[in-house]
């Protein structure tokens, strides 16, 4: 049986290789890599089934945010707009970026819905645990709890901003 396919969207080659190695070492998943959002959409298109009417071969996406051409937030927003209501590809955001715009852009309930928001440098086990949870069918819960966590972070950041003023 084919291993589930995970797409790594990352522009830094060393980091991409590290993520791919971490995922493939488990022996449970296979990977494809894209350097930016535009390339990622080409891969999604290449891996579609039944003209895109059935689920895509890519079952999970690991996404960096700072990328050339199309960044991570633009990518996830466009992905959600293109997906039907019944196809929600789980996305794990993996980034060094920590600011309100990125949090809300990737986790908002309309066109974000990231399953987790991990900070670089990431713990390998944390990433694998996230992927395992997604493939066990926990992505709905993960999306909700990540949104709640980021909401709390946004509120705290806004409070700090006000205090700073």
């Amino acid at each position: 049986m084919n291993k589930p396919l995970i797409m790594v969207v990352e522009d830094e080659q060393d980091m991409a290789n590290h993520i791919i190695k971490t995922i493939e070492e488990t022996g449970r998943y296979s990977t494809v890599a894209a350097k930016n959002g535009v390339e990622a959409f080409k891969l999604i298109d290449k891996n579609k089934n039944f003209l895109g009417l059935a689920e895509n071969n890519i079952k999970c996406i690991i996404l960096d945010l700072k990328m050339p051409e199309m960044n991570g937030v633009q990518f996830i927003n466009k992905l959600r707009k293109n997906e039907g209501a019944f196809k929600l590809t789980p996305v794990i955001v993996l980034t060094a970026y920590e600011d309100v715009d990125k949090w809300t852009g990737t986790t908002n309930p309309n066109d974000g819905l990231a399953a987790d928001y991990l900070k670089k440098p990431f713990k390998e086990q944390e990433l694998i645990d996230d992927i395992d949870r997604i493939f066990r069918g926990e992505s709905g819960y993960m999306i909700d709890s990540t949104r709640d966590q980021t909401y709390d972070k946004v509120v705290e950041a806004m409070k700090n901003d006000k205090e700073g003023d």
Binding site: N49, F50, L51, G52, L53, A54, E55, F86, R136, G137, E138, S139, G140, Y141, D144
Partner: protein, 149 residues
């Protein structure tokens, strides 16, 4: 769409090839699009059902509190305003719970087969030919482009 339209539109050979192949693409898109649309929608129906049921089982076993909240929020979200919403709210206050696992699976399968599957099927039959046309049109341009290369 092709990477460089100007190359393709400039050549008369491409125009002739496109004119000859165009009727075939239309016929192919109609016939194959409908067939692929039916098969693709059916596959998608089973994929969605399997995923929904598995996620529900995980939610019941691992996150029962979250599942109840989800059920309540979704029920209230889809309820119309006024009397229906007020009735639902009072039912939740009286302790209305989300359906149990077996009941949920039965509801999922029955409602899915009656409402969701026909919807997917019609969508597949309508969208299939357009998607097939788009795909074959792009493939043709890519082939012509690479030959012209």
């Amino acid at each position: 769409m092709p990477a460089d339209n100007s190359v393709l539109t400039a050549s008369p050979t491409y125009k002739i090839i496109a004119a000859i192949t165009f009727p075939f693409i239309i016929v192919w898109s109609l016939v194959c699009g409908v067939i692929i649309g039916i098969i693709g929608s059916t596959v998608n129906f089973f994929q969605v059902q399997r995923r929904e049921i598995r996620e529900e089982i995980v939610a019941i076993t691992k996150y029962p509190g979250w599942r109840e909240d989800q059920f309540k929020n979704q029920s209230l979200y889809f309820a119309e305003k006024g009397e229906q919403r007020a009735r639902l709210e009072s039912e939740f206050q009286e302790g209305k719970k989300a359906p149990r696992m077996i009941r949920f699976i039965l509801i999922q399968i029955v409602l899915g087969s009656i409402i969701f599957y026909p919807y997917l099927l019609i969508r597949g039959i309508v969208m299939g030919p357009f998607l097939a046309y788009n795909q074959s049109y792009n493939d043709l341009w890519n082939i012509l482009n690479s030959k012209g290369g």
